[in-house]
Structure formats: structure tokens, C-alpha cells
């Protein structure tokens, strides 16, 4: 009953700076959010995915994991969007059923919250409130960040989670430092609500707030990765910094071994296990939401397709599970490259002489055909019997059985022999045997090899079994070579017998997709009725992990062939803002939205990074000679700020040089945000440590103020291009074209 004796007191310590920054952040990002009421730039892609979510149709997007898309879809869900909008071109007007404001709300909120977070980060790094304020204001007025936040795009969300990961790690790290009682000079404890909580809850290791911030770090990291793959670089950076700190912890001999172990375990759980679990969770929700078949089904395996409502599941539902002698099947190749296709044959034969002068067997062609066709049906036959129908009871085919494959329409046997294949001369030709060529005996026995079997007596199952056909006479393996046959083969895909097969390759693996028991006679059909097929609920057979791994693998390997874009750019163009992207142009006036940064901020941020690097090197060399220019704690602050801000810039920027995909200016925004955070850090450092007299300090302060004023001015000048709210005259537009490489649209009347 202690609370009766002492009054319950809640002390809230509110940092008005943060509140004010949040307010202006919201204002700048949410102002006229629903304008323009038209599809702007990449909204055309993300909008499609939102529609898919609303209609719960499965899709595959190789650009990133599903969390970001789901967040956007959440906006649609809040706004009651029914998904009925044709996202076909940039600039199309939204119909009235599209809740534009709601759809754009989440990215805008993320963008707005980045402003106070920038403040908090610089603050937690141990710099002055003034520097923190500067960082937040720079993020606030950076035009490119504003533009990107106000649309249905994911960069602002990504930046939000990147910053959140860094911020919560810093909070965690600082709460850890309390234990040693050497909090930095400008400790923010007691100034903000969270810090107050921290202080209240006794900032010791393994306290509640300690756990909270540590877990939040992990969660934020996985959210960043879940929004876009590039988030992984920030994750790695945070992991790296945490590893260095953990290494120091190991070296701390005042701690007991058990204590160190607990510390390490806690970090491992929070920074490795939790993110992995969260990442899986995204996919779980994603797959749970998208349960209907859709346009991207073809890319996935048959089993995956069958797990979706409609599509293949509609065909395969109720078909017998176990393939028996006499079954009629279609065989799909598991490789799916260049296109998913089915084993196929048709009346035409191989040409007697190829263009290269080689000869063929002149037997019936066997190909792989990417469309559903009646010629894709094959009958599994027992070589010892003549009948092509299923017995009663059905005799299932097992691993290791010898079978013959009979082409349904032409009743010819799948055959291979020692004749070079048309396009892959090292492999054997595969044909349907025609017996007019007596010198070539039929070699049509195939041994069934179930690749994913669990035991050696496993039965061949529809859709689920991955099988290989090994030719009995020559040990060749039925394989899709991936080459397109010339005109005589109707440009279908070549199928060959691979003689020297080295290990497992997907191109040699086939699975049964459609399956029915043979019913060529009336009587047999009745039999079929009697032995009602075993219902196969395949969707339940495919576990979440199997679906996840397949989906993830496809997302990473599917290449969309976007080669060139009018506004694509190279990483070198980004540092000094040599490029822009026109996002939208008003259909009648010349009001337009551009992704165009505040060039003063970009240039000075790049400069600050350089200055930081040089100063850092200089101090490092001096320290090596035991000359300590900085007091130890400011040196540590300086290093940590560099590791997180300059490091954040580097890891978010440099990897793009190695990427082969089409790059755009907006890919630079996360790196830019980190670079902006470094700017006030460098200013404060110069002012505190490099300006020797008060006079110099004042002068420098005045310079910074002047510089900031110019940044504000530039930001204001470019504002029409950021919000697109004002139509500018051609001469004004020309005046805004400060760089020749900027592409500003000028309407010709």
C-alpha cells in the first residue's frame, strides 16, 4: 500500500525543442499532402503493389522486402482504399476512390519524425543543443528529403528506420555508460522524456530501458532491411559499432566473465536473433495477406502456385497426389530460365541436316514450351505392360523405377540416343522415337530419380516431387538447355540429354504439375469415379519456411531488365548534385515537382565529410606520436560521431559503385541524411577546438549563420519545385536551372 503513503508523481520533462521540431517537421511534410492529385513518378509502381495488397493478390517485387510495401498498404487500409485504380502512367489523375492523403501519410510522418530524430542523435552523440538544432533544421529544409517524404515512396521510411536504429543504439550505449558514471559533459539526461525515463528506471545494464533501447535497435535495423535491401548497410554499420564496443567490454577486466558473457548474449539476441525473427515475420504477414493468385505466379514453382487461391490451385485441386502407371501428366522444368516451360513434343521432326552441316536423327522433336498446350501431356507407362490406363488399384511409381514416357497426342516414346543435340553438340538429342530409321533402335527407358525424396521407396507425388529422368542406356539426364531452337523448332526451348552431369542442377529437374489418371475408355472413367482420387491439400503441405525461402530466393535472383532511364544517374553525379529527377508536371500549367536537393547543403555536407576525414587523419597521426590535441572525452565523441555519421554516409553511398542496377538520385538520400548530421558536428568541433580566440569563434559563428541563411534562401527559392504548388514562368524556370545538367521542364507554348 505504498502508493497511499506517498503520492504518485509523474514528472514529465518535455524538451520544447523536440516538440517544436516535430511540429514544424509535420507542417513541412503534411502541408497540402494530397496535392497533386495525380500519380507522381514511382507511385506508379508502389501504387500497384498497394492495390495488390488491397485485393490480396500475390505479387513478386524484386526491388525490396515486403515491409515497406505493407506500410504503404497500411495507409491504404486506413483510408479504406479498395485497390481499384489502374496505375498505368505517371501523371494520371486519381479517381475519387483513392485516399491520396492516407496513402501518402505514412511516408510523410516518417519524414517529419526524422527531423526531431536528427536533433536527438546529435544530442546523444554528446554535442551541444545548438548543433543538434542545426542538424534538425538542415534535415527540415533539405528540399530533396521533403519531396521524397511527401509521396508514396519508401526512401523516407527507410531513412526513418536508419536514424531510429542509430538513435536507439546511442541511447542504449549512453545508458550503458551510466554504470561507469562517466557520462559526457553535455549529457542530455533529464532533458527529454525518454532520458527522464532512463534516469528514473535506474540506468544500469540489464535495466528495463537498457533492454528497451537494445531491442529497439535490433527492431529498427530489421525494419530498415525490410523496407529496402540497402538498409542492410546501416544494419552492418550498427553491428560493427556494437562489435567494437563489445570488444572493449571484453577487454574490461573489472567485469566478471559471466557478466561479459551475459552482455554478449544479450547483444547477440537483440542484434542478431530479433532482427532475423522480425524479418521472417514480415514475410509471414506478407504471405498471409497475399493468398490469391496473380500476375507473377508463373515465376514461382508449381507447389508455391498451388498454395495460392485460384490459378494453378484451381486446376490442381482434387487431382490425385500419387503418380501411377498410366497417369497423364504435364512436366514442368524447375529451372524456369529463360522462361518457365513444360516438356512438349509435336508432329514435326528434326531437320535432316542442320545449318552447321551436322546431321540429326530426323525423329520427332521434343522441346520445352512456355505455354499450356495439349501437346504438353505425357503418359507414364510401365515398360512391361502395354496398357496406357491406370490399374485398379493404381500402382504408384516410386523412386528408382524404370518408366517410359509416352507423348499423349502422338503416342510416341520419349527417347534419347548418341546423336548430338541441335544446339548443344556435347549433349544427346532427345526425340520421340519414330521407327522408320531401323539403324537407330529405340532407347526409351528412363529411370526415375526423385531428388527431394526422404526415403528410397518414396512415391512420385504430383507437384511436390522433384524428379530427374536418367536414361537407362546412356546415363544421360533429361535437361533443359535454355537455348531457343531456330525456326524449324518454332523457337521453342531445346531439351537435351546431358551426358556428363555434374551434380544437381535445376535445369535437369522436373515436376508434375497437372495430373490425372488415364481414362481413355468409358469403363476406365467409371473406375476413376470408384477410386475417388486422394484429395491433396498441397497448400498445407508447403511450410512457411519453404515458401519464404523460395520467395526470398526468387526476389534476389529475378532480374528485371530495366536498362536505361532518362533520369538515371551514376553515383558520381550525386555528391555535388549534378542531376535531378523530374517527378511530375502539371497537365496544363508549368507547376512541377522535382527531386532536387538544396545544393548549398549538399555541397557543404560533402565538404564537411572531407574536412572530417582530414582532421581525423591528422589527429590520429598526432596521437600516434603521443600528442593529444583533444581531451579524451571529446576525442571519443569525435570518433563515435565520425563512425556513425561519416560511416553511415560511406556505407550507404560507396556500395552503389559496385551495383549493376539502374541508379537514381534518390538512392543517395540515406547517405545524404547521415552526411547532414555530420555537418553541425564538424562546425561545432571547428568552433570549439580550432578557433583559438573568442574573436575567431564569433567570426566563425557569424559565418555559419550566414551560411545557414543562404541555405534557407536556396531552400525557399527551390520550394516551388519541391511542392509543385506554384506555376513558374519560363524565365523563372530558366533562372532556376543553376546547373547545366539539371533538367527542368519548360513548356513550349
Amino acid at each position: 500500500m505504498g502508493f497511499l503513503q506517498r503520492p504518485v508523481v509523474v514528472t514529465a520533462d518535455i524538451n520544447l525543442n523536440v516538440v517544436a521540431l516535430t511540429a514544424v517537421g509535420l507542417l513541412s511534410r503534411l502541408w497540402q499532402l494530397a496535392y497533386p492529385r495525380a500519380v507522381v513518378f514511382d507511385e506508379v509502381y508502389y501504387g500497384q503493389y498497394i492495390s495488390f495488397y488491397m485485393k490480396r493478390i500475390f505479387f513478386l517485387d524484386s526491388s525490396g522486402p515486403p515491409f515497406g510495401h505493407m506500410l504503404l498498404a497500411l495507409g491504404g487500409y486506413i483510408g479504406g482504399f479498395d485497390g481499384n485504380f489502374l496505375w498505368n502512367r505517371i501523371g494520371a489523375e486519381y479517381s475519387s476512390n483513392v485516399p491520396v492523403w492516407c496513402l501518402r501519410l505514412l511516408p510523410a510522418l516518417a519524414g517529419a519524425l526524422s527531423v526531431p530524430m536528427a536533433y536527438q542523435i546529435v544530442w546523444e552523440l554528446g554535442f551541444s543543443p545548438c548543433a543538434a538544432m542545426g542538424a534538425a533544421l538542415l534535415v527540415l529544409i533539405e528540399n530533396a528529403l521533403v519531396t521524397q517524404s511527401r509521396l508514396m515512396l519508401l526512401e523516407s521510411v527507410l531513412i526513418f528506420f536508419d536514424l531510429l536504429a542509430v538513435l536507439s543504439y546511442l541511447k542504449f550505449f549512453n545508458s550503458q555508460k551510466h554504470r561507469y558514471g562517466r557520462r559526457g559533459v553535455s549529457s542530455p539526461a533529464g532533458n527529454s522524456l525518454s532520458s527522464q525515463l532512463t534516469a528514473l528506471l535506474c540506468p544500469r545494464p540489464f535495466s528495463l530501458s537498457w533492454w528497451f533501447w537494445l531491442t529497439l535497435t535490433g527492431m529498427a535495423c530489421s525494419c530498415a532491411v525490410g523496407v529496402k535491401y540497402v538498409g542492410v548497410f546501416t544494419y552492418l554499420l550498427v553491428l560493427g559499432v556494437a562489435a567494437v564496443h563489445a570488444w572493449h567490454l571484453i577487454g574490461d577486466q573489472t567485469l566478471s566473465n559471466v557478466c561479459v558473457l551475459c552482455h554478449l548474449l544479450a547483444r547477440a539476441v537483440a542484434l542478431l536473433v530479433i532482427p532475423a525473427a522480425t524479418y521472417l515475420l514480415f514475410f509471414y504477414v506478407h504471405l498471409a495477406l497475399l493468398c490469391r493468385s496473380g500476375p507473377h505466379d508463373q515465376i514461382m514453382s508449381s507447389a508455391f502456385q498451388a498454395s495460392l487461391e485460384g490459378g494453378l490451385a484451381r486446376i490442381t485441386q482434387g487431382q490425385p497426389l500419387e503418380v501411377a502407371y498410366g497417369s497423364q501428366v504435364t512436366l514442368k522444368n524447375a529451372f524456369g530460365k529463360p522462361v518457365p516451360c513444360w516438356l512438349h513434343s509435336h508432329q514435326s521432326t528434326y531437320p535432316v541436316i542442320y545449318e552447321s552441316g551436322r546431321g540429326s536423327s530426323h525423329q520427332q522433336q521434343v522441346t520445352c514450351y512456355p505455354f499450356k498446350d495439349v501437346n504438353n501431356w505425357w503418359i507414364i507407362k510401365d515398360p512391361r505392360r502395354h496398357q496406357l490406363v491406370v490399374n485398379n488399384p493404381p500402382r504408384p511409381v516410386r523412386h528408382g523405377d524404370i518408366v517410359q514416357l509416352v507423348h499423349g497426342m502422338t503416342t510416341r516414346f520419349l527417347n534419347t540416343h548418341d546423336v548430338a543435340a541441335p544446339l548443344s553438340p556435347h549433349s544427346q538429342e532427345v526425340s520421340c522415337y519414330v521407327d522408320y530409321n531401323i539403324s537407330m533402335p529405340a532407347q526409351n527407358l528412363w529411370r526415375l530419380d526423385i531428388v527431394n525424396r526422404e526415403s528410397d521407396a518414396e512415391v512420385w507425388k504430383t507437384i511436390l516431387s522433384e524428379v530427374r529422368f536418367v536414361h537407362v542406356n546412356t546415363s544421360a539426364i533429361l535437361k533443359l538447355s535454355g537455348a531457343h531452337l531456330p525456326d524449324w523448332g518454332f523457337r521453342q526451348l531445346e531439351v537435351v540429354g546431358e551426358k556428363l552431369s555434374r551434380g544437381y542442377h535445376e535445369s535437369t529437374v522436373w515436376n508434375v504439375e497437372e495430373h490425372r489418371y488415364g481414362k481413355s475408355q468409358e469403363q476406365k472413367e467409371r473406375e476413376l469415379e470408384l477410386h475417388s482420387p486422394t484429395e491433396s491439400d498441397i497448400s498445407r503441405n508447403l511450410s512457411f519456411m519453404a515458401r519464404f525461402s523460395e520467395l526470398q530466393w526468387r526476389m534476389l535472383t529475378v532480374r528485371s531488365d530495366d536498362s536505361e532511364h532518362k533520369y538515371s544517374s551514376t553515383p558520381l553525379d550525386w555528391v555535388m548534385l549534378d542531376t535531378n529527377i523530374a517527378y511530375w508536371l502539371h497537365p496544363r500549367t508549368s507547376a512541377q515537382i522535382h527531386l532536387l536537393g538544396n545544393i548549398v547543403i549538399w555541397a557543404s555536407a560533402s565538404l564537411a565529410t572531407m574536412v572530417y576525414a582530414l582532421l581525423f587523419l591528422w589527429y590520429l597521426l598526432r596521437r600516434r606520436r603521443k600528442v593529444y590535441d583533444l581531451p579524451e572525452d571529446s576525442w571519443l565523441r569525435w570518433v563515435l560521431a565520425g563512425a556513425l555519421c561519416a560511416g553511415g554516409w560511406a556505407v550507404n553511398y560507396l556500395p552503389f559503385f559496385l551495383m549493376e542496377k539502374t541508379l537514381f538520385l534518390y538512392h543517395y538520400l540515406p547517405a545524404l541524411t547521415f552526411q547532414i548530421l555530420l555537418l553541425p558536428v564538424v562546425f561545432e568541433h571547428i568552433s570549439n577546438h580550432l578557433c583559438r580566440s573568442q574573436l575567431q569563434r564569433s567570426l566563425f559563428g557569424a559565418l555559419v549563420v550566414a551560411w545557414f541563411a543562404s541555405a534557407c534562401h536556396v531552400s525557399n527559392t527551390l520550394r516551388p519545385l519541391t511542392y509543385g504548388d506554384r506555376s513558374l514562368s519560363p524565365s523563372e524556370l530558366k533562372a532556376l536551372r543553376w546547373k547545366d545538367s539539371w533538367d527542368i521542364l519548360i513548356r513550349k507554348y
Partner: protein, 908 residues
């Protein structure tokens, strides 16, 4: 960074004279042999010899003798009482172990914590602070006090005679390792007597050097020059064609070239042996490494043929060895051996880079080593600031001189020789710019004379700068139905334009010895856009074409104009189609192009060969370029030419004028336009980098140079498979360390003699296991050190070996392996072998150290000391035995016509 060890084994007596420099024993054996006679002569002489690692092994004998007084037998039978029957043990013992330790000493050792064998092994392995000329690494690592202490504990210098034996034993061991290596590599070197695998390229390129015919290859020239030199010296006349794998050499002398490669390949084993010895100071570790490499079938196979790999690996290993050697001289800067090893490092770096660009990795390693070395020097606060600056300046200059300037000079020199030797026109001409081709005798641009500046009415050929092989080309064939310009397929002949690859492939025919003759379909007439009057009319004045002019380009053969319009190009859908249009030069306004000079050095006029021009389409604003994609059959598989609306300037859209005919202008000799040597160097590098990158061009290169891999008929792949060779030859980097699949060197299906490049599985899997074990043990040790655990001196010494020596090797392995994951080009199994060398060395050090640690921790049990000896011996024997097994398997392979037993062998 050099590794630094400190080890203090309790020793009964101390003398400062037992520190000697192992390096110089190789350099100056005379000195070291002279040394025992006058033990305390001078600092310099003292430092020439250092306690040899060999003594580690010598003392293997001490333990059994100490524990069980064996009857004094002759040395050879004495030392491994448990395994008298093992030949290798016998050998080891014979070479190394000698009854040398005085009895009193033995007693003390026995009383020590360490089993004597291990203790003595460590004594050899380590740990002695070397303060002589080359030795203070240990002192640097642990600080002066420990060093002094360790010095105080140094054992008594053995009698001079024994040291001579020791040195002899060590030399003999090295000689034996070398001998084994040479014996295996040269065994049946002449088989098979036909061209194997890439011999077809490198042998051919060697022949080009002998014939002085110009060619182009993606690798720098040094390796092929050396092959050519070896062939030249051994009497090969360059007449063998090296057309395809499987061609019989017959009377041609090929053994010189193979012998040269095998010679360099054989040296890898002693190099690895010495490197490991230097890093770990432990003979068993070195022997283990040598055994791994000697008995590895992969290394063996790769060293036996005319390939770049043995040469490359030779330079890599030599650079590594000299770097390690130079590290151990670090305490004696600016001495003769220091300079020697430093400059040798630089020379080997140049060699490695000069053979293949893979050499960059070892350069990175040496660079990193140098940086950390300088960093430590810089942090050496025993010197005053001023002294430091002077010293640092000297150090820095020395390194820049030896590791940057010297390699650069040598590398450039190889190119100078390359271009000097290859003075005749040959198959590589087409890759290079026209200005370059003017240098080559036999080329039709050689000694040619053409008008210097472009004027209206000139007949020209236009060549793409980026494509390096493409001329703007047109012919009478139409674009097929459904592609691009649909409106004029019936009556108009729309002409498509291509870089003329098909024409160039004629180069591959052996009959064509000079540069290709001009195809008339490459000729264009440059005309003013406004008039159709013949500019060659003598009454009109000559008018030069200038930057910014609006022109028309008329195809000379078909009299159609270069034309573009808003139709998508056949392959690059976002670009516009380029066609030929019009009749007899009359077209429409879509035929107008603005000509822009990119490098405007010549007063806006357009200079033949040297001006780089862009053609901007006037109506659509797009720029003429080549997309680099290859058209299907209907386009004769030539390159697609498009008009790109994206004006971002790349080399794809830059052209230059090559041939130039204009009777109204005076001709000048092309010689004045010849590029200077730096320009040539730059051009050939740009070309190499560019060719190495994208896949289709790589494929093209093979076609152009006639470098088909055996039997693969590239043309059959058509457009669908832009792969250079059969899918089976290529592999993924993750295949390599697990020895997943090998590489056929010879005998695809029907030849009786089959060579298959595949590592000895025992060796490779042991290496793989060792890397994992190393990471595990390394991190345990590192954590222990970080936790401030007080390690016993022996363990500490071993941990240093593990962390420093092993760390360097692991770094080398990573550097030579991981970058391949980033490479887009086609990869082969043999790319892994440099990394494999490093991982073998790591295996040697790891197992030796682990076994020593094991023996140490079990020291309380009797015979624990034997663990090390037994472990090393069983590893050695296991490796050797696996090789014997492999040989049997290979015999089966030779008998097996179906090739089913191809997993494990090489056909020797």
C-alpha cells in the same frame, strides 16, 4: 607487419651470441659457415646467423633419449623409436636430429614443465628475441624488459661443429623439398604431346612474340613474353599453329615452354616452405606446407602446361616470400639485406601484375603490410620528433622507391618491350585505334598518307571509340518485318548499320595475314545538309567540316543517308532506330546530324584519327551510338547501332574518322599522327579493362582471335547463349574450396590421354577444415588476450605465431579469393589456385601450432610430447598416401572410356 614473438622457455644458461639471421644464411652461406669458427667476431657476422628453426626438430630426438636411454645408434635410426619403419620419419630424423644436447642440459629440460621435445621444438620455433642484425622483432613486440629477460634465458650456444651440421641439415631439407617438387613437376612433362586446354592461347601468343605479330589479349604481356622467350631459347620457331586443344605437337619443340612453366611451378613449393619457416620458425610447419603443395594434384597439373598460372603464382609467392623476409629485417633498416628484400618485393610485384591483373591482390597485401609497418615505425616514441621525421622520410622514400616507382618502371618497361617486339600487323590490330594501327608494319594504315582535316565531299570510314572494333557500317539487307520502321519495308530499302564484327572475324582465317581490307560498305560521304551538289566539283572551294556543322552522311554503296526517327531500335527499346533512307542521297530532314568535336584541340576542325566526334540527330536530339548488343541472324550478328535520347556521354557514342579520301586535299603522312608511348599504354589498358568487363565482348574476343575452346562451336549458340564456352567449364567461386568440380585440360571424350585439373581432395578438404579451425582457435586466443588472461610463455609465443603469421596468410587467402565473388566475368577453377597456396601455408602453421599446444596442455602425461611429432608425421603420411591413391584412381581414369571416374585425378 612482421610477426613478433616472445617466448621464454626456461633455459639453463644464457649467451647473447646465439642470435643469427636466417636470411643471410641463404644469401651468404659462406658467412654462416664461417661463423662457428669465430663465434664472437663482430656484430655483423653474429647477426648473419640466427638460431635456426631446424634445431626445433633436432631436439625431437632429445625426448626419447631422455626418457628412455636408447642405445646409441647411428643417427639415422635413432630418432623415432616408435616409428622406425616410417621412411619420412627416418628422413626427418636423419636430417635434423642429432645427439647434441649435453647431458646436464637434458636433465634440466626434463624437469621443466614442457615436455622436452616440445620445449626444444619451441626453442627452435620462436621465440628468441633477436637483437642482432635482423632479430629484434620479438624485442619490439614485447618490450625491452622481456626481451632482456629472454636474452638472459637464451640457451648456451652449441658447439660450432653442431651448428654446421644443423645448417647442413636445413639446407639438405630445403634441397630435398625442392628436389621432390622438381621431380613431381618434371615427371612425364612431355605428356600428353598435344595442345592442352589454354595452351592453345598462351602457346599461340608465345608464337606471336617469336613471329613479332601484333595481337591483343586481356592480360598484361609479361607472362606471354616469358613463354615466348622460353620457346625462343629452346629452339621453338613459332611455326606451330596452336589451333585447338588436342593438336599434336609432332616435331615442334614445345618442351622448352613447358619446362619453363614447370620450373617456375616447381619453385612454388620451396617458396612456400621458406615463407612458412620464416613466419612460424618451425620446420614441421614448413614441411607440412611443402607436402601439401607437392602432393596436391591440382598444383601439379597447373604447373605442367604452357599457362600463365605457374608464372603468376611464382611471382605472387616470390613477392610474399620477399615481403616476409624483409619484415624480419625490419629492425635493421637500410642494410644491404633490407634493401635487397625490399626491392625484390617490388620486382616481384611488378612481375605479378605484369602477368595477370590478379597480381593486384598481392600488391594490396604488400601495401597493407607496408602501411602497418610505417604505422608502427611512426608510433615508435623512443625517437624524438625531429629524428622521427627524418627517419620516417627515409623510410617512406625507400618504400615509395622500391614498392611503387620500381614496379611501375618495370611494368611500363614490359609494355615498352611488348610494343617494340610486336611490330608487325596481326590479329590484334582491329582492337586498337586507327592511330595505333599506323605503327604496325603490314597494316594498311602503315606509312599511309591521307588528308589531315575533314572537308565536305570526303569519303570516310567512321569508327566507334568504345567498341574499338566497330566501323559504322551498312548493307542492303532490310530490317525484318515487325522491327522498327514498319512504314517503309516494302519499297524502300531500309538499311541497318552495324559495327562490322562479321567482317573482322575474317581475321581468324589464317590466310589473311595483313590487316583486313576495307569493306566498301563502311564508306560514307560527308555532305552539307542543305545542298545536294557534288562537293567534289573542282570549281567549288574546299570547305572544311567544323564543330557544330549540320551534315548528312551518305552511304557510298547504296546512296542512302544515315537516318533516324522515332521508332524503337530493334534491341534497345528505349533508343531510336537508325536506318539508311532516301534515294540517291535525297532524303528528308531526319537525315540531318550535327557534328560535335569532343576534344576540341584542333581549331574546331576535324582531324583524321585524332578528333573524337559525336553525331547528334537534329530532329530528335538523340546521339548516334552503338549499344553493344549483338543483332540476331538477320543482322549478321553485328552490333546494333542506335540513336540514344540520353545524352549522357559515354564512349559508346563517340566516334573517330579513320580512312579519309578527298582528292582536293593534300595528303599528309600518317606517321605524324602516331600516338606517343604513354598514349599507347593508356589505350591498351582502357581496352583491357573494357574487354574484361562485360560478357558478350569476352565471347566476341574468343571468336575474333580464333581462341575457341576445343570443340565448342560458338556460332551454334547463336544469339541465345552469349557464353564463350560450354557451360561445364565455368564454375562459381563457392565451388572452388570444396573441390566441387574440376576442369578438363585434355581429352574431352575420345582421347586416350586425359588430363583433369582437380585438387587432391584430402589436401583441399584439410585446407578448408583448417580455415574453419583457424578462425575458431584464432578468435579464442584473441578473446583470451583481450580478457587479459595470463598465458604461459610458451602458449603466448604460439599464439603470436598463430595470430601474426597465420593472420597474414589468412589475409592473403581472403584477398585472393573473395574478390572473385564480385566479378561478373566468367570464372574458372584455376582462379582459385593463388588462394589455395595461401590456405595451404595456413594449414601448415595451424596444425603445427595446434599440435604443439595440444602437447603442451597434456604435458603431465608421459609421451604427451610425442603428440606433436606423431600428429605431424601422420598428416605428412596421410597426404602422401592420398596422392598415391589419387595416382591409382588416375590410372583407372585412363582406362575408363566413359569418364565416370573423373572425380579424383590427373592423368599422370
Amino acid at each position: 607487419m612482421s610477426f613478433k614473438v616472445s617466448f621464454s622457455v626456461p633455459r639453463p644458461a644464457a649467451t647473447p651470441h646465439s642470435r643469427r639471421c636466417w636470411e643471410l644464411q641463404f644469401l651468404e652461406p659462406v658467412f654462416s659457415r664461417a661463423r662457428p669458427a669465430r663465434p664472437s667476431r663482430s656484430v655483423m657476422l653474429r647477426a648473419t646467423s640466427r638460431l635456426p628453426a631446424a634445431r626445433a626438430a633436432t631436439t625431437l630426438s632429445a625426448q626419447p633419449r631422455g626418457r628412455r636411454p636408447a642405445p646409441r645408434r647411428r643417427r639415422k635410426e635413432l630418432h623415432f623409436p616408435g616409428h622406425p619403419e616410417l621412411p619420412l620419419g627416418d628422413f626427418l630424423a636423419g636430417r635434423l636430429a642429432r645427439p647434441r644436447v649435453p647431458a646436464g642440459r637434458r636433465a634440466i629440460l626434463r624437469r621443466g614443465r614442457m615436455p622436452p621435445a616440445v620445449g626444444r621444438g619451441l626453442a627452435g620455433s620462436e621465440l628468441r628475441p633477436r637483437r642482432g642484425r635482423c632479430g629484434s622483432q620479438a624485442a619490439r613486440a614485447v618490450g625491452p624488459d622481456v626481451a632482456a629477460e629472454a636474452t638472459a634465458r637464451s640457451p648456451k650456444r652449441p658447439a660450432p661443429g653442431s651448428r654446421r651440421f644443423e645448417a647442413a641439415g636445413r639446407w639438405a631439407l630445403l634441397a630435398l623439398v625442392t628436389l621432390m617438387s622438381f621431380a613431381t613437376r618434371f615427371h612425364r612433362l612431355d605428356e600428353p604431346p598435344h595442345v592442352c586446354w589454354d595452351e592453345t592461347h598462351f602457346g599461340k601468343m608465345g608464337s606471336y612474340y617469336i613471329n613479332r605479330t601484333f595481337f591483343f589479349d586481356v592480360h598484361p604481356p609479361l607472362g606471354k613474353m616469358l613463354i615466348g622467350l622460353a620457346g625462343y631459347l629452346s629452339g621453338y620457331d613459332g611455326t606451330f599453329l596452336f589451333q585447338k586443344p588436342g593438336d599434336k605437337y609432332e616435331h615442334h619443340s614445345y618442351m622448352g615452354m613447358r619446362g619453363f612453366c614447370a620450373f617456375l611451378g616447381s619453385l612454388l613449393v620451396p617458396f612456400a616452405y621458406l615463407t612458412v619457416l620464416e613466419l612460424s620458425q618451425s620446420l614441421p610447419a614448413a614441411l607440412l606446407t611443402a607436402a601439401l603443395l607437392t602432393f596436391d594434384t591440382g598444383c601439379l597439373t597447373l604447373s605442367q602446361y604452357i599457362l600463365l598460372d605457374p608464372i603468376l603464382m611464382f611471382f605472387i609467392m616470390a613477392a610474399m616470400l620477399s615481403m616476409v623476409k624483409y619484415n624480419s629485417c625490419a629492425n635493421r633498416p637500410f642494410s644491404a639485406p633490407w634493401w635487397f628484400w625490399l626491392s625484390l618485393t617490388g620486382i616481384n610485384l611488378a612481375g605479378a601484375l605484369g602477368v595477370k591483373f590478379v597480381g593486384l591482390f598481392i600488391i594490396l597485401q604488400v601495401g597493407w603490410n607496408t602501411l602497418s609497418d610505417l604505422w608502427h615505425l611512426f608510433g615508435d616514441c623512443s625517437l624524438s620528433m625531429v629524428r622521427t621525421q627524418v627517419t620516417m622520410g627515409k623510410h617512406l622514400t625507400a618504400r615509395i622507391l622500391c614498392l611503387i616507382v620500381l614496379p611501375m618502371a618495370l611494368y611500363t618497361a614490359t609494355y615498352a618491350i611488348h610494343f617494340m617486339v610486336l611490330s608487325k600487323s596481326g590479329p590484334g590490330d582491329g582492337f586498337f585505334s586507327s592511330a595505333f594501327q599506323a605503327r604496325l608494319s603490314g597494316n594498311n594504315l602503315h606509312n599511309a598518307s591521307i588528308p589531315e582535316y575533314l572537308a565536305y565531299g570526303s569519303v570516310i570510314t567512321v569508327r566507334n571509340l568504345r567498341m574499338a572494333i566497330g566501323y559504322l557500317h551498312s548493307h542492303r539487307d532490310l530490317y525484318p518485318e515487325g522491327i522498327g520502321a514498319r512504314q517503309q519495308q516494302v519499297s524502300e530499302s531500309s538499311v541497318h548499320l552495324c559495327g562490322s564484327r562479321a567482317k573482322l572475324s575474317a581475321v581468324t582465317e589464317p590466310a589473311v595475314t595483313t590487316y583486313l581490307h576495307k569493306d566498301y560498305n563502311n564508306l560514307w560521304i560527308i555532305k552539307k545538309h542543305s545542298t545536294n551538289s557534288d562537293p567534289l566539283d573542282p570549281s567549288l572551294p574546299v570547305e572544311f567540316v567544323r564543330h557544330g556543322d549540320i551534315i548528312r552522311l551518305e552511304h557510298k554503296e547504296t546512296s542512302r543517308n544515315l537516318h533516324s526517327h522515332y521508332h524503337e531500335a530493334p534491341l534497345t527499346r528505349k533508343h531510336y532506330q537508325v536506318t539508311g533512307y532516301g534515294i540517291n542521297g535525297t532524303g528528308d530532314s531526319n537525315d540531318f546530324w550535327r557534328i560535335e568535336v569532343v576534344n576540341r584541340k584542333f581549331e574546331n576542325r576535324i582531324k583524321v584519327l585524332r578528333s573524337q566526334i559525336r553525331l547528334i540527330h537534329l530532329a530528335t536530339g538523340c546521339v548516334l551510338g552503338s549499344s553493344g548488343k549483338i543483332l540476331p541472324k538477320w543482322g549478321w550478328e553485328q552490333f546494333e547501332v542506335t540513336c540514344s535520347p540520353y545524352l549522357k556521354g559515354t564512349l559508346n557514342s563517340i566516334w573517330n574518322v579513320e580512312d579519309h579520301i578527298n582528292p582536293k586535299l593534300p595528303n599528309i603522312s600518317l606517321d605524324v599522327l602516331q600516338p606517343s608511348f604513354p598514349e599507347i599504354l593508356l589505350e591498351s589498358h582502357m581496352l583491357m579493362i573494357w574487354v574484361l568487363w562485360p560478357l558478350p565482348i569476352w565471347w566476341l574476343l574468343y571468336e575474333l582471335l580464333g581462341l575457341h575452346k576445343c570443340g565448342s562451336q560458338i556460332s551454334n549458340y547463336g544469339n541465345s547463349g552469349l557464353k564463350p564456352k560450354d557451360n561445364e567449364f565455368t564454375s562459381k567461386p563457392w565451388h572452388w574450396p570444396i573441390n566441387y568440380q574440376g576442369l578438363h585440360f585434355s581429352g574431352i571424350s575420345d582421347m586416350d590421354f586425359r588430363v583433369y585439373l582437380l585438387g587432391n581432395p584430402v589436401v583441399w578438404w584439410l585446407n578448408l577444415l583448417s580455415i574453419g579451425l583457424y578462425l575458431l582457435s584464432g578468435s579464442i586466443v584473441a578473446v583470451a588476450v583481450q580478457r587479459g588472461a595470463r598465458l604461459p610463455a610458451e602458449v603466448e609465443g604460439l599464439s603470436w605465431v598463430l595470430l601474426r603469421g597465420g593472420g597474414q596468410l589468412l589475409f592473403g587467402w581472403m584477398l585472393h579469393y573473395f574478390p572473385f565473388f564480385l566479378m561478373g566475368r566468367i570464372l574458372y577453377f584455376h582462379h582459385y589456385f593463388p588462394a589455395m597456396l595461401f590456405s595451404s601455408m595456413l594449414t601448415g602453421i595451424l596444425w603445427d601450432t595446434l599440435l604443439r599446444l595440444c602437447a603442451w596442455s597434456l604435458a603431465c602425461f608421459p609421451l604427451a610430447g610425442g603428440i606433436h611429432a606423431v600428429g605431424i608425421l601422420s598428416l605428412l603420411l596421410g597426404i602422401a598416401y592420398s596422392r598415391v591413391l589419387g595416382r591409382e584412381a588416375s590410372a583407372q581414369v585412363n582406362l575408363d572410356p566413359l569418364g565416370e571416374g573423373l572425380d579424383s585425378a590427373q592423368g599422370v
